[in-house]
């Protein structure tokens, strides 16, 4: 077990040194959530209906923005080659790397989303639901981002290509995420979309690392 723990602590230490990357996603999330009510009229009903999509969209863009430097620096200094040769299975090493990366880019989003949601007059229980939905959807999104970052590793300017690959695959999560939040605000039962989100998260936890590992192997050879 110590290989993964060693890698995890190394990732934590590196992430502290590279805190600027995590900051870009965080700032984007915070800005979108804050600026939107400023621009549009801020009466209660309108903001309550719009908080779901806004939260999901800003989480989506934040994780997409900070996705590019997930494997890029490790690719440049050859650490991924060393990982491939290590004793533990490469797939679970990639899982630890993705989780460590999620910890630094998406977890702050979830914590701050309580504050930003209160701007939209969301009740306390609503904020809890929003944070739960964000937790589930960012976990799934981080795996999809990891796959896309791995596939477009060798390409110099992968920006547009990444968005094109990500959007169709992340769409169900956005749909069901904003649906859960809307239902929770309207007081309707949220179990339906929530089950779907958890199901998607489970699927991405098992499929994600394997596909990212094979994508890395392809773009490394």
């Amino acid at each position: 077990m110590n290989i993964y723990f060693q890698l995890f602590s190394r990732e934590i230490r590196v992430a502290f040194k590279r805190w600027t990357d995590a900051l870009t996603g965080f700032i984007l999330f915070f800005l979108i959530a804050i600026l939107f009510p400023l621009i549009s009229d801020s009466n209660k009903e309108f903001l309550l209906t719009i908080v779901g999509p806004i939260m999901m969209f800003s989480a989506f863009f934040a994780s997409m923005l900070s996705m590019q430097n997930m494997f890029k620096p490790d690719f440049q200094n050859g650490t991924i080659e060393q990982l491939m040769l290590s004793k533990g299975s490469f797939v679970s090493l990639i899982l630890t790397k993705t989780i460590a990366y999620w910890l630094f880019t998406s977890l702050p989003l979830i914590l701050i989303s309580g504050l930003t949601a209160s701007i939209y007059f969301v009740s306390a229980s609503g904020i809890l639901i929003i944070q739960l939905t964000l937790l589930l959807s960012t976990l799934t999104m981080v795996h999809i981002n990891a796959f896309t970052a791995a596939i477009t590793l060798g390409i110099r300017y992968p920006g547009a290509l990444m968005t094109l690959i990500i959007t169709p695959i992340t769409l169900p999560i956005l749909i069901f995420g904003s649906k859960t939040i809307e239902n929770s605000i309207l007081g309707a039962d949220i179990s339906g979309p929530l089950y779907f989100l958890t199901g998607m998260m489970m699927l991405s936890f098992f499929l994600g690392p394997w596909i990212t590992a094979s994508a890395l192997k392809i773009s490394m050879d």
């Binding site: 993964y4 040769l85 533990g88």
Partner: protein
């Protein structure tokens, strides 16, 4: 066309259950160290390194004691290469694949490295290395000279 197969203790290496991958220590152009964190952290938290017993001896051998604390980015390429060599040597793997190990090393470190490689060969490990200066010392048993062009 690439053809032919590499067999490692009777199992072809791209089989699922081949242990070849865990026996190889590789040092290519990129030295496989993370620039931001310090050299000692790189060594201590590297998932490939199993035994850190001879770490101090290696550090003093390559006289890197002074610069073990500062981040690898700030080290010169020669020093970074030495840190990578330490990673390779202390990984306890039986096959070493190295790309020009003696490039941009000062003489003292070259002898120290040659000593370590000798030691490794005596413990019947295997070293596959490339070198363009043609300084193939008496160590090498099988040389393949690749004429260019």
């Amino acid at each position: 066309m690439s053809s032919g197969r590499i067999i490692w203790n009777k199992i072809s290496i791209n089989d699922i259950d081949s242990t070849f991958q865990n026996e190889v220590a590789y040092l290519g152009h990129k030295n496989g160290l993370i620039g931001e964190i310090s050299a000692i952290d790189n060594l201590r938290m590297n998932p490939n390194i199993s035994d850190l017993t001879q770490l101090d001896e290696l550090i003093s051998g390559f006289d890197l004691d002074s610069c073990m604390q500062n981040p690898v980015e700030t080290l010169s390429s020669g020093q970074a290469k030495k840190v990578a060599l330490i990673c390779l040597i202390s990984s306890g793997r039986s096959i070493w694949i190295m790309d020009e190990p003696f490039a941009n090393l000062d003489d003292a470190s070259k002898d120290f490295l040659a000593l370590k490689m000798d030691l490794h060969l005596q413990r019947h490990g295997m070293i596959i290395r490339t070198s363009n200066q043609g300084d193939l010392s008496q160590l090498s048993k099988l040389e393949i000279i690749l004429e260019s062009g």
